[in-house]
């Protein structure tokens, strides 16, 4: 399985789409960090901004686009038959692509952590716990990816029409982000959307320095942890289960 996963990453070597996605993943958090430095925001705000833009916008976008790219490149290059005639089962191919996209997510989390730490140094109020910062991004990003997992279904259904698939997954990620952006409006706090649950249950983890305002925020955004985890788990399981079932059905005739 590890071997297959490593090979999935090799396929992205010198690939234009992958390069563009790397650029997006590297530049947006950098821009966000520079903005915080320019405005002399406190470090806790830099972490908050990078969680919002990094973990809940860039990471789900990069994850979805990379996943689509990994599935679509087999279609475009007619390479799936090469893998299937080796005897690698469809579920392994599916899971290895998913795992590869998650590996890329972890790399980007590392990059966002590095930006945040560097931003903290510039702001001169850096809290030197790198692992704590990385932990915050790790948990928030994974929750955000789980909330965005229905894109796997879109990818499997639309991967043979790359442009439509790319538009569909971007719309999904942007709509999700708009809900977060307007969290206090449109009765968002009464909704039980996976992305809102992901943000609300991870919000307490992102607080590295308590203030009265944050206390108020914590009370407003409270969402029961067990219910949130169940919602995210169910979304992930259902999305992956249906996607895998569809993938196996579609691949029966290459």
């Amino acid at each position: 399985m590890l071997n297959i996963c490593r090979n999935e990453l090799k396929k992205l070597k010198r690939q234009k789409t992958a390069r563009m996605l790397w650029a997006v993943g590297i530049l947006i958090p950098a821009f966000d960090t520079l903005l915080c430095i320019k405005n002399h925001y406190p470090f806790r705000n830099l972490v908050g901004a990078n969680v919002l833009f990094g973990s809940f916008l860039v990471i789900p976008f990069v994850f979805s686009a990379m996943l689509l790219n990994l599935f679509e490149l087999e279609e475009r290059n007619h390479t799936l038959k090469n893998i299937l005639v080796i005897g690698v089962p469809e579920w392994k191919i599916f899971l290895s692509k998913l795992a590869s996209a998650l590996v890329i997510v972890v790399v980007f989390m590392g990059i966002i952590t590095a930006y945040t730490v560097a931003g903290g140094i510039f702001l001169r109020n850096y809290i030197s716990d790198v692992f704590h910062i990385f932990g915050i991004f790790l948990i928030t990003s994974l929750c955000s990816v789980c909330a965005a997992m229905p894109v796997a279904l879109l990818i499997i259904l639309l991967r043979k029409r790359n442009l439509i698939a790319m538009i569909a997954i971007n719309c999904f990620i942007l709509i999700d982000f708009l809900f977060l952006w307007q969290l206090s409006m449109f009765h968002c706090l009464e909704m039980h959307l996976p992305v809102l649950a992901a943000y609300r249950i991870t919000y307490p983890l992102t607080i590295i320095e308590y203030t009265d305002n944050l206390r108020l925020g914590l009370d407003t955004l409270y969402y029961p942890m067990d219910k949130g985890i169940f919602l995210l788990g169910a979304t992930t399981a259902a999305s992956l289960g249906i996607s895998l079932w569809l993938y196996k059905r579609q691949e029966a005739d290459v």
Binding site: N77, K81, I86, V88, V254
Partner: protein
């Protein structure tokens, strides 16, 4: 009963109500080169895909290495090398990188396998040229290299000389022959290029509109069908009746111009002439002819030439 390394029984493939492959029975013996011959769209690739589990079988069975081909898929596929349709590789990677991915997935390949397989098809090892920069012929060669990288017992090659230049065609033909003769590999290939099949195949299966019309060794085919006596004598019906009575001919064909093709070449032409003359039927022309594979193909498929 003969032992076949690959055998199908009643292999059928339907898309909705349309059957694209109808009850095909293929028998491939160990160490032989078996060629599936047919026009584009005859069903050759679909048969190959079904053999490999790439396409669902609607009806029928496949036996490989004497066992039913169901379950233990990896065990079977590890003994088969495959090149189906246009070779598909990652355009952003080099030939070596592409083969590294495939050999990694196979998992049990000897160290120099990539170098050896590239060498066999005349492609350089560790070259920096990307697959996207390859010519069609080079892509085809890489496809063959990928098929032989794990030293398989059986090779399934779909149109292996497609897109190759004349030298490349000759080299590939020699290479396929060498694999069969020197290494004892069993090869199932498909082609619509009759001249190639003629030079390469030990046995052929002629397929048309999804139906396997004939399956026999090339030598047998030549002896049985491609040599015939062409006879022109009237009245045709009476002549045929007499020949049936006297020489017990069963395999014949009346051509559009009234000439008769008799495929039993054991009969002496002078005997036919003498026999008919004695019965006051005068032979306008009689000669022994040899069909090319293309003529034979036209005759058996009842249509135009191939491709």
């Amino acid at each position: 009963m003969e032992n076949f390394i690959l055998e199908t029984k009643g292999l059928t493939k339907c898309y909705g109500d349309t059957a694209v492959v109808k009850g095909v029975d293929i028998h491939v013996k160990k160490g032989e080169i078996y060629a599936l011959l047919g026009r584009n769209g005859a069903g050759k690739t679909t048969i190959m895909k079904m053999l490999l589990g790439l396409s669902r079988i609607t009806k029928g069975t496949v036996h490989m290495f004497g066992q039913p081909f169901a379950g233990n898929k990896k065990e079977f596929l590890g003994r088969i090398g495959v090149m189906i349709e246009t070779p598909g590789f990652y355009p952003n990677l080099t030939a070596t990188e592409n083969l590294e991915i495939l050999s990694d997935l196979r998992g049990y390949i000897k160290r120099d396998a990539i170098k050896e397989s590239l060498g066999k098809v005349g492609l350089p090892y560790k070259d920096k040229k990307l697959f996207s920069e390859f010519s069609l012929g080079m892509k085809q060669r890489l496809g063959i290299a990928a098929a032989i990288i794990h030293d398989p017992e059986v090779l399934i090659l779909d149109e292996p000389v497609n897109g190759l230049d004349p030298i490349g065609v000759m080299e590939t033909r020699d290479f396929i022959r060498e694999l069969s003769q020197d290494y004892g590999k069993t090869i199932l290939l498909s082609s619509h290029i009759l001249s190639e099949i003629e030079l390469l195949a030990d046995r052929i299966g002629i397929i048309d509109k999804g139906i396997l019309l004939e399956e026999s060794s090339f030598e047998e085919l030549k002896k049985r069908n491609m040599h015939y006596i062409l006879l022109s004598a009237e009245p045709t019906e009476t002549v045929i009746h007499m020949l049936e009575e006297e020489f017990h001919i069963g395999d014949y064909r009346i051509m559009g111009n009234g000439c008769i093709q008799v495929f039993d070449t054991e009969i002496q032409t002078k005997e036919i002439v003498k026999f008919l003359a004695e019965r006051k039927i005068y032979v306008d022309a009689i000669t022994k002819c040899s069909d090319t594979l293309e003529d034979y193909f036209k005759r058996i498929t009842g249509g135009e030439g191939i491709a």
